[in-house]
Symmetry: C2
Subunit: 196 residues, 2 copies
């Protein structure tokens, strides 16, 4: 069994190309491997199934987000902590990754089962971030509110980042979306007192 240099990356690029042109359902692991001159066996040494190709790195992304929570200054408020986490998570998506991310999203948009998996990813992200916030001493419901807001902001920012013609970095977009959330809340102060 010989080591294939860069096999994982080649498989990933080939898979995405095939998913995008032929369709996710219509592409097999064997075809992905063949298209870059590798065996099906090599494919399965790197990925447990073809769906994994699209969700590979998910754990590292989650960890980057959580590391961002831990790295925030001790006196940061929950949303400030989330801002740090968003910044850390955004560094996972440098601009050169944008074309790949765009293509990946177009594959996911066409497949309900993959969308389901994405939805779960975000739900899992919010749960993990809320737990990290509680570990810092944030109470409930603040921890869950801040964590869910972080997941929402990331989702909106990411969708914008991969839009045609968008050139700002994911980190910049995320900052702006989070700022918009803060502004929305500021505009609800009237209700806040009226409701007392």
């Amino acid at each position: 069994m010989r080591w294939e240099p860069g096999a994982r990356e080649r498989l990933q690029a080939a898979a995405l190309e095939l998913f995008a042109t032929r369709g996710f359902e219509q592409t097999t692991a064997a075809e992905i491997a063949q298209s870059v001159g590798l065996t099906e066996r090599t494919f399965f040494r790197h990925f447990s199934d073809k769906r994994e190709v699209l969700f590979h790195g998910q754990q590292e992304f989650l960890q980057a987000f959580i590391d961002g929570v831990h790295a925030a200054p001790p006196d940061a408020s929950p949303l400030e902590v989330v801002a740090c986490a968003l910044h850390a998570a955004a560094s996972f998506f440098p601009d050169e990754r944008r074309p790949y991310s765009r293509m990946r999203q177009s594959v996911i948009d066409k497949n309900p089962a993959l969308q389901e998996r994405e939805l779960h990813k975000f739900a899992g992200l919010a749960v993990a971030v809320a737990e990290a916030l509680r570990a810092r001493g944030t109470g409930e419901p603040a921890a869950t509110l801040a964590a869910e807001s972080g997941a929402t902001v990331f989702g909106i920012a990411f969708a914008q980042w991969i839009r045609d013609g968008e050139e700002r970095s994911l980190s910049d977009i995320a900052s702006q979306v989070l700022r918009e959330l803060v502004n929305l809340s500021a505009a609800a102060t009237g209700w806040r007192t009226a409701g007392e």
Copy 2:
């Protein structure tokens, strides 16, 4: 075919009882019907399958939320609109429904497929509320941020409402959770300017 007065409600109560004691998987539509002296055929006149028993009324709930968006004053800010919508949606869950909701949640918590369906329900809610906000003239990302915040606040408030010993109304809890979100944002103002 005779009309069974209150058949739907009796089936619903019987189903929940069986799901909670025996387990969702282990209960059939025929058993639910039999336990209240009705036929399987009657069951299927009211529900397309046993899962439907748990999600019946979902459309009306969504509509209540959306109606709340439409009913908000024209000059309300997006989060103020969401506050109106939360209030309208909460009226769907009067306190006498709390024991039923508790039991339903305990059934859902034990079944991953049902949890998935719940997750979808909330995702669908946020999408519909964002659309209703855009129809009022709210731009993006404000509409999606406010809608997702509304779904998050509802989820947190609902989980609290069905907690053992909780006696506040769902509407009161939702108001407090939303206020907490506004407070979280106010506490992030330092970051907001620091980030410019």
